[in-house]
């Protein structure tokens, strides 16, 4: 019985992150990503600014957008050097953070109990399934009627969309847990709360985080829709506002900013998930399950 080949603690924390980064640089993945983005920018440039193909020439091209973005004295009034750009980003991010936190805080526990208790599911699932298919835009008038001002209705809409996704995925996560883990917990002498904390919660985590990734995307979607319809600040408002006054460069800038910010937020959710599921990360790293 030799254990030499598997002895030694695996790297953790920052070391693990560095180890993974080094490994990633040895694969073609980061380089292919660069090339992909390069190809996209090049085609965007050729279609818009070089060949000026219809209908692409009607929107500002990459050079124009980037020049404006980096302009200390922007032609259309907004760039990396103006305050209102950051206010819009900050306002949207704050709304997303609040909405996502509420949706996760309510959706995860609800989903866990729905998956765990048949009775609880029988009570709640029909309600969820009736409300969930209502498109978030259909909630807009209701949100405006219910809440005063700009802030609350917008957060309400983003929360709502995010909540349904999170609750449903969490429930499916619990239902996906192999029966033998419950049985194992039972024959090792677990009480109900032990099973909940040691089997239900960790077993559902992979689905929960898949759900949270989708949910944060959905939250951004509804947030921007709400900001476009009724907003005072925020990236959605910035898009709609610059469209109204024909500032198309600013509009594209806001769109690209949304893309970046959205990407960062889902990367953060993914990172949190990987951190909470080291067991899964490591097993995958070994080519196991």
């Amino acid at each position: 019985m030799s254990n030499q080949s598997v002895s030694g603690r695996p790297p953790s924390g920052l070391h693990y992150f560095l180890h993974k980064s080094r490994k990633a640089l040895k694969t073609p993945m980061p380089y292919l990503a660069f090339i992909g983005i390069g190809i996209w920018l090049l085609s965007y440039f050729l279609l818009n600014e070089y060949w000026r193909v219809s209908p692409f020439y009607k929107v500002p091209g990459p050079v124009e957008v980037v020049t404006e973005w980096l302009n200390k004295d922007p032609i259309w009034g907004t760039s990396l050097f103006t305050q209102d750009y950051y206010i819009n980003i900050w306002v949207s991010c704050r709304r997303i953070f609040i909405a996502f936190a509420i949706a996760t805080g309510l959706g995860v526990p609800l989903g866990l109990f729905m998956g765990w208790s048949k009775k609880f599911k029988d009570y709640t699932f029909p309600i969820l399934e009736t409300l969930r298919p209502i498109p978030i835009l259909a909630w807009v008038p209701l949100a405006i009627v219910m809440f005063a001002g700009f802030e609350t209705p917008i957060i309400y809409l983003a929360t709502l969309a995010s909540f349904f996704v999170t609750a449903l995925n969490t429930m499916l996560g619990v239902e996906s847990i192999d029966e033998s883990y419950f049985r194992a917990a039972g024959c090792l002498g677990s009480k109900k709360h032990h099973v909940f904390l040691n089997v239900v919660v960790p077993g559902a985590l992979p689905f929960i985080f898949t759900g949270l990734q989708i949910s944060i995307g959905v939250a951004w979607f509804s947030l921007v829709a709400a900001e476009m319809i009724s907003g005072d600040f925020g990236l959605g408002y910035m898009i709609m506002d610059s469209f109204m006054v024909n500032k198309y460069t600013t509009m594209v800038m806001a769109m690209l900013t949304l893309g970046f910010v959205g990407w960062i937020t889902s990367a953060m959710v993914r990172a949190a998930g990987n951190r909470m599921m080291q067991w899964r990360e490591r097993a995958l790293g070994q080519g196991g399950v």
């Binding site: 917990a185 002498g189 985590l205």
Partner: protein, 287 residues
């Protein structure tokens, strides 16, 4: 049909873990049509015995294990553990407990806990030990099983053989009366399997825990067992009981002995007959 064990060939019973299965019947009801999984099945297992259960696929071996463990109810009959009723008239489902720990067919170590955390789990949730004590005990037992170097690994990071061995350690830390094994080595290659057998025998020689072991592998059954119970095709009854009167400790030289071959042949004939019946009936296996 009833079969009782007259004498147990296992050496040195520990005085606990005697299972008495009397006239147990189990009817499943999947989608309206009743299926008889166990039919008046009786079996006495002495404390400290290694009882191997063989039979055609889907005959109801696992149903029996599930009834003992408290995963499934029984329809009729009674199962006792050391004279106390686990399930029977008025109590169709046995209460699950750490006196009967199961080692599962596909392995059921919690993937989100390290091997040491998995092993320490039982004593912690039962309130027998605090976290630090359980952790120390777990590490000591893992080291004893040759798993000291991987105690901090997750099950997904170690080989299936190591994981299965850790699962047996997780069971043994609770000092169970009975170890219930449901084809634990089914998916393993022959070499790993032989290592697993030796380590299980080593555990048995040390603890003398009663072992209820389901398998398809007849050589495994004879090599490990004190008795091999051949079950009929569904509905399962005990068809034949083969006494394995071979001294312990056993090792791999046994496999090439004449005595061993004769026992395997004897068992094979009984099982084959049932396997043919099961195949001809063409019934789907029960989970």
């Amino acid at each position: 049909m009833s079969a009782t064990a007259a004498a147990v060939t296992g050496n040195g019973a520990s005085g606990k873990g005697a299972i008495s299965i009397r006239n147990v019947t189990k009817i499943y009801d999947p989608g309206g049509a009743d299926v008889l999984a166990l039919d008046d099945c009786s079996l006495e297992i002495a404390s400290g015995e290694v009882c191997m259960i063989v039979g055609p696929s889907g005959c109801g071996k696992t149903t029996l294990l599930n009834a003992i463990a408290g995963f499934h109810s029984i329809t009729e009959g009674q199962i006792d553990l050391d004279g106390e009723m686990l399930c029977g008239p008025g109590k169709e489902l046995a209460t699950q407990g750490a006196d009967r720990v199961v080692v599962f067919q596909n392995g059921a170590l919690f993937p989100w806990k390290t091997l040491a955390e998995n092993v320490a789990y039982g004593p912690i949730v039962q309130g027998i030990m605090n976290k630090a004590e359980a952790r120390d005990k777990a590490e000591a037992l893992l080291a004893e099983a040759g798993l000291g170097g991987v105690a901090d690994k997750y099950p997904g990071e170690v080989s299936s053989g190591m994981a299965r061995r850790a699962e047996i350690v997780r069971a043994l830390i609770n000092d169970p009366k009975v170890l219930l094994l449901d084809e634990p080595y089914r998916a393993m290659d022959a070499l790993t399997k032989s290592i697993m057998h030796e380590s299980l025998l080593e555990v048995y020689d040390r603890t003398k825990v009663t072992i209820f072991f389901i398998t398809h592998d007849l050589e495994e059954a004879i090599f490990l067992g004190d008795r091999v119970v051949v079950m009929t095709t569904r509905p399962a009854r005990t068809k034949k009981i083969v006494d394995v009167k071979i001294d312990r400790p056993r090792d791999y030289r046994l496999l090439s002995s004449e005595e061993f071959r004769i026992l395997v042949q004897e068992t094979k004939e009984a099982v084959h007959e049932e396997a043919v019946k099961a195949f001809e009936a063409g019934e789907r296996e029960l989970a």
